[in-house]
């Protein structure tokens, strides 16, 4: 099997790289794919927490490259899907513990029996970022409708191009239709005009994300959540389906009323 390696990156921190990685990975596994999530944020690992797998970690990625264990020993099998694995980052080391070359080797080894390898990149453009993109075939950039996040995304696209990773795609995260309508938030067209790359998904702002992150259950597992639906659609687009974008829905009058009186 020759798996595809996809790096999830953004430049700016806090835009939803880890949440996106966890959810895309989970949604791909739902469709029966064999998926390995790699947390490349060595020293600040989070992906294990978001996946709810923190208490199963014995070995990590640094143990693998330093030959303290075999690759299979460090890979944690997800508790929900058999085909989903996590290769966690080390928490007590830093980004220089792994080199881009080692990363490339690791991914080449994983590709043999995975359909998809999702690499969760750290924020920034330094060594951690370089490690994360080392073995990638494809890049997905996460951004939010903020001028600073878009600026950083633009910078990242330039850096990816310089590394030969052409045609990255973008996820616009945390968008709020009501604010866009009022002109208080950048619209999708404004962002695509600057970035000039393909849009692979729009994820609406959803309070459920906070809850699911804290519980260690990716929101893609939740049938009712809008954000979960958005991530499941992104996974299907990654698999090659041509799905139309979900229209941005505004809260109905009743939901707004419920929010107002604190019921929802």
């Amino acid at each position: 099997m020759a798996g595809k390696t996809i790096v999830i990156t953004s430049g700016k921190g806090g835009v939803g790289k880890t949440t996106s990685s966890a959810n895309i990975g989970t949604a791909l596994a739902m469709h029966g794919n064999k998926v390995c999530l790699i947390d490349a944020d060595i020293g600040l690992r989070n992906l294990d927490v978001v996946m709810g797998l923190e208490n199963r970690i014995v070995y990590d990625i640094v143990d693998v490259v330093e030959n303290n264990c075999r690759l299979e020993q460090a890979m944690i099998r997800d508790k929900r899907y058999d085909g989903l694995y996590l290769l966690p980052a080390a928490q007590t080391r830093d980004k220089t513990s792994v080199t881009p070359f080692q990363m490339q080797e690791l991914i080449d080894q994983l590709k043999e029996d995975m359909d998809y390898i999702i690499v969760d990149s750290p924020a920034g453009i330094e060594q951690g970022f370089k490690n994360a993109i080392a073995g990638a075939d494809r890049a997905i950039i996460v951004t939010t409708p903020e001028i600073s996040a878009v600026r950083d995304a633009d910078r990242i696209i330039g850096l990816l191009e310089a590394e030969g990773l052409r045609d990255p795609e973008v996820i616009i995260n945390r968008i709020r239709a009501d604010m866009v309508d009022r002109g208080d938030m950048m619209g999708i067209d404004d962002m695509i005009e600057i970035l000039a790359i393909n849009l692979i998904g729009i994820v609406p702002e959803d309070e459920g994300i906070v809850v699911s992150t804290n519980k260690g259950e990716p929101i893609a597992l939740n049938d009712k959540a809008k954000a979960g639906q958005a991530y499941r659609n992104i996974a299907r687009r990654i698999m090659g389906e041509d799905l139309p974008m979900m229209p941005l829905e505004k809260d109905s009058f009743i939901t707004r009323f419920k929010k107002l009186v604190g019921l929802s």
């Binding site: 600026r151 950083d152 633009d154 910078r155 696209i157 330039g158 850096l159 191009e161 600057i194 000039a196």
Partner: protein, 201 residues
């Protein structure tokens, strides 16, 4: 004061031409000022001092060399005495333009001694620095500096002129805050009466 000296781009550097009959005092003053302003524009390129039309004493020449060394990290300094016929227009007519066939993104920087043509956008956070003109076949939203060697003849043109900052020679301008960013309207900027003027094309 503007025309005590001028620059002309050649394949491996720039030629510094002085106006016929300039006094050493005025040359010294203008070059000292320019060297301080040019920052690192001349990094790694050769500088040819064209002494044609000048009469300098040995000590004055030595002093001029000291001032010219203030151009940061200039590669080599040569002397020449070519006769220059049309002084000002030289930069435009003899220099070659570099053509960039892609969009410049945040953090990317293009620097060239002569003209720069970009077929694509210049996004916010990107920088273009040219000794001559800058032409953008796309949206210009980043920082541009035309005539960075001091040429006030330089101009900037774009299909959408909305730069973060626009510099020509030693003048700086920025876009008005209330610019209508949606529609494309080709514009060019140039210097007139020591002011940057923008007009529709």
């Amino acid at each position: 004061m503007a025309s005590v000296f001028s620059f002309q781009a050649v394949s491996d550097g720039v030629v510094m031409n002085f106006r016929d009959g300039s006094t050493f005092g005025s040359i010294k003053k203008a070059v000292t000022l320019h060297a301080a302003e040019a920052s690192d524009f001349f990094t790694g390129i050769n500088l040819y001092l064209n002494l044609s039309g000048l009469e300098l004493a040995y000590e004055q020449l030595e002093e001029l060399m000291q001032i010219v060394k203030n151009y940061n990290q200039v590669n080599k300094i040569y002397f020449t005495a070519k006769k220059i016929e049309i002084e000002e227009k030289m930069t435009e007519s003899t220099s070659e333009a570099v053509i960039i066939n892609r969009t410049l993104r945040s953090g990317q920087r293009v620097k060239h001694q002569a003209n720069v043509v970009i077929v694509g956008d210049v996004n916010p956070g990107a920088e273009v620095i040219a000794g001559g003109d800058i032409i953008v076949f796309g949206r210009l939203k980043g920082v541009v500096h035309a005539g960075a060697g001091g040429s006030k003849e330089a101009q900037v043109a774009a299909l959408k002129l909305d730069p973060t900052q626009l510099r020509i020679a030693s003048l700086i301008a920025r876009s008005p805050d209330d610019i209508d960013s949606s529609k494309l309207q080709a514009e060019r900027a140039f210097i007139e009466n020591d002011q940057i003027i923008v007009e529709k094309i």
